[in-house]
Symmetry: C2
Subunit: 215 residues, 2 copies
């Protein structure tokens, strides 16, 4: 397969593929001569994975490169892959370490204490959650932090499902890829499900006769 065929097969424009090659997201094809390279099924698969991470997962290109490098590294244990995937989606400033203690950080740590969750201090989620709580307070809506326990209960279910997936077929070769895709796309899935569930319960709480009264 040459680059133009890879392009039509994947739906990704040729210059874009060249860009991904340059950026190291996609490994180079097998060079058959000075100006000819051939790409295989693996390249097509990789390209689809790239688009999933970028389009659906919303990762920046630079981050996708790191994640893909982690997938390609066979020496990384699976538990590390989880961490790599986490750090990847936590690239943004939201999850960056917080230097000095804030009110939100204290609340997060208090929760970790009483819930018994075993979380290291540098977990990006710890900083992200702290920042969200601080934002609740800064924007004048501290009461939003009250629903923390229900959020945590939901997250627990979800994370257990995530881990169960790993535990079930930890031997599978492509497991690290599954972990990455699951972690990266999982956030998008959750947001989508929350939107739907919100509408569902909203329609129960506030039945609106003017809209979709009969199903």
């Amino acid at each position: 397969m040459k680059i133009s065929e890879l392009s039509t097969a994947s739906g990704v424009a040729v210059p874009t593929i060249k860009y991904y090659l340059r950026e190291g997201l996609l490994p180079a094809g097998e060079r058959s001569s000075a100006n000819q390279a051939s790409y295989g099924e693996g390249h097509l698969q990789r390209l689809r994975l790239i688009r999933a991470l970028l389009d659906t997962g919303g990762l920046p290109v630079a981050t996708a490169r790191e994640v893909l490098a982690a997938i390609d590294n066979p020496d990384l244990p699976l538990t590390w892959i989880f961490g790599v995937a986490q750090r990847a989606i936590s690239d943004a400033g939201l999850y960056a370490p917080i230097a000095e203690p804030t009110s939100g950080l204290a609340k997060v740590d208090a929760f970790l204490e009483h819930s018994g969750w075993h979380v290291s201090p540098e977990n990006p989620g710890r900083f992200g959650a702290a920042r969200v709580i601080d934002s609740y307070e800064a924007s004048g809506h501290p009461e939003l932090a009250e629903i923390w326990d229900d959020y945590a209960a939901g997250s627990e279910l979800i994370a257990q499902a995530d881990l169960a997936m790993v535990g079930r077929n930890a031997e599978v070769e492509s497991m690290s890829e599954t972990v990455v895709v699951g972690t990266v796309l999982g956030d998008a899935m959750l947001s989508s499900l929350r939107r739907m569930a919100q509408e569902h319960f909203s329609s129960l709480l506030f039945p609106d006769p003017s809209e979709r009264s009969a199903s």
Copy 2:
């Protein structure tokens, strides 16, 4: 308060405040003369809300403008505010309507059918979830769709908490603001909680003696 004082009080640079004024995120100050305007406590509060939506919620400026306009409109019923907030965080292409049926869309609809969730066809979450499932499949990891039920159960808990918050104090004046902040920042909160819960259950499943063995 003049603009420079508003700047130091909020930590937002003066040119940035001017930018927000231009973009209509922040209402103009009260003009006292041709080159003097004074800003009040409300402006400071609004600025903090803006930063929460942009920085923590990750909204683009244009979207934040729409959300803020919805908050400012006293005629919108609370149930609509929910929809506005949802559409706001669903601005990206991920949640855009899908024209022709896809495998993912069929799976989402099948779930809605058997779960009894009452969700309108144009709910952005429906398209987002469908796209994620399609990405699972395209990237070669369709097994990830298996955890759907647990994800849905978690989302249900979370959405119920969201709605309970509204039901509890629906009379409060700033409720629409609370709904928006809660919906927009809720996604960030959830992602953070998921990161922490993942680490917690990961450490249970794969105890790693080399790392934080003693708490």
